[in-house]
Amino acid sequence: MTIKGKAYIAGAFEHPTRKAPDKSVAQLHAECAKGALEDAGLTKDDVDGYFCAGDAPGMGPLSMADYMNLRLRHVDSTDTGGSSYLLHVAHAAEAIALGKCSVALITLAGRPRSEGVATGTAPRPGNPAQPDIQFEYPYGPTIVNMYAMCAMRHMHQYGTTSEQLAWIKVAASHHAQYNPNAMLRDVVTVKEVLDSPIVASPLHRLDCCVISDGGGALVVVAPEVMKSLDRPRVKLLGAGEAPKGQLGGDVDLTFSGARWSGPRAFAEAGVKPADIQYASIYDSFTITVLMQIEDLGFCEKGQGGRFVADGNLISGTGRLPFNTDGGGLCNNHPANRGGMTKVIEAVRQLRGEAHPAVQVKNCALALAHGTGGSLGTRHGSATLILERE
């Protein structure tokens, strides 16, 4: 059993807001759902499967399904942080392949910017029943210093430099200049990244993603539904998922779960990393991108620094055009969860609907990859391979 060719992404919508103090979180979810359904040419009444994660207000899918008054026969609220929405695409395809639903709606939304959340720099106490909390929270783990420890170890083990990491931000900024909705539209230089203040060594302020309100939604449909729609056909070829943690104390911060989810997705799709024309790579931090590029097999382990340098990720000039919307580093990181926007930009590229300045010519094969949770402790990884039919 495979999901290869069993489902299509028919609708995709990224909310244009980046600051929404005047909207509720539920409203943002619903506005994203409406946008994605209209994009697909479907209506709310066509939806029979609903997928959401921890950003959805209420118990699992129940409150949002009720808010939108959906009549459902399949729900899934798997939460693996920012990677959830890539898992949801895969899980929706599995459900569609089994006949459990035919039009699956996936939503994400949140308002960390309006709510003044110190997303990256404040330790979060969490639920004391979470088994790791008492051994970590008192030491002050934050989102930034956890990823910073990955960067520090990568530098130590492979000679990766801050200049190389900075190139990832530079590439994202080159793309963001064409996105009118992007939070940071100014093209930056390596020097500007290095001159920005250290948040947690060795990561600078400009190594970090933005904090934004907003959201997004996807509509995943069965082949027979896709045939009835007048939209470019974006087919799911393969998917892989893998959680990774501290391995019982055999901590290894130099690789991510992409080492496991990537090969599963490539095997199911029957393609190789070298075949990929465009990649959406989760970019909570520059180091996140570098590690995933290695783990997905775009270069050898430890060579990520050389691979990303000198503009190699910039569309039109580089070998691996990435995050052509500006990504989490410059465009948008709604609800502190960047997986949804990764899929959306991959869909734009495959449809030929990206900004002309960053559109990959004849883009027929794309990858989207997400990391959720923390690379420094425990995280979910999810990889999707998508094809324009």
Partner: protein, 131 residues
């Protein structure tokens, strides 16, 4: 950079599975959990071995000696501090803080030894300082 000693440490919240660990820390002892079935030590401590899933696990007093696996100085904090993963001589790697030293001198591979710091409650936290 040398840290001020004004950082208030949150107290851990022990549970029946972990109470012995925190009781020992209060007395200045670092425990590791060892599996008598497969012989391996792990961290954080669990009743069931994360390697072989045996329930034959027990406490062992660690030497308190270790090596810095990675670290980061959290600059953007009211009181900067250094978070780290320290690989214990007994095998497992644990999250902790590096304290009582000039943060600029901290390096991966540095030998460190345990020290126990007071928290907002009576509990003490195992931390590490250059050996």
């Amino acid at each position: 950079m040398i840290a001020m000693e004004s950082r208030t440490l949150p107290a851990p919240e022990p549970n029946p599975e972990t109470k012995s660990y925190w009781d020992a820390a209060q007395e200045g002892k670092l425990l590791v959990r060892i599996c008598t079935a497969c012989g391996r030590a792990h961290h954080y401590p669990r009743a069931l071995c994360p390697f072989c899933f045996s329930d034959r696990t027990e406490w062992k007093t660690a030497s308190g000696n270790g090596t810095i696996y990675s670290f980061s100085v959290m600059q953007r904090a009211p009181v900067p501090y250094t978070i780290a993963y320290v690989t214990l001589d007994e095998g497992p790697t644990m999250m902790s803080n590096i304290v009582d030293c000039d943060f600029d001198t901290i390096r991966i591979g540095m030998k460190v030894k345990a020290t126990f710091k007071p928290t907002e409650s009576t509990a003490r936290l195992p931390m590490f300082t250059p050996a």
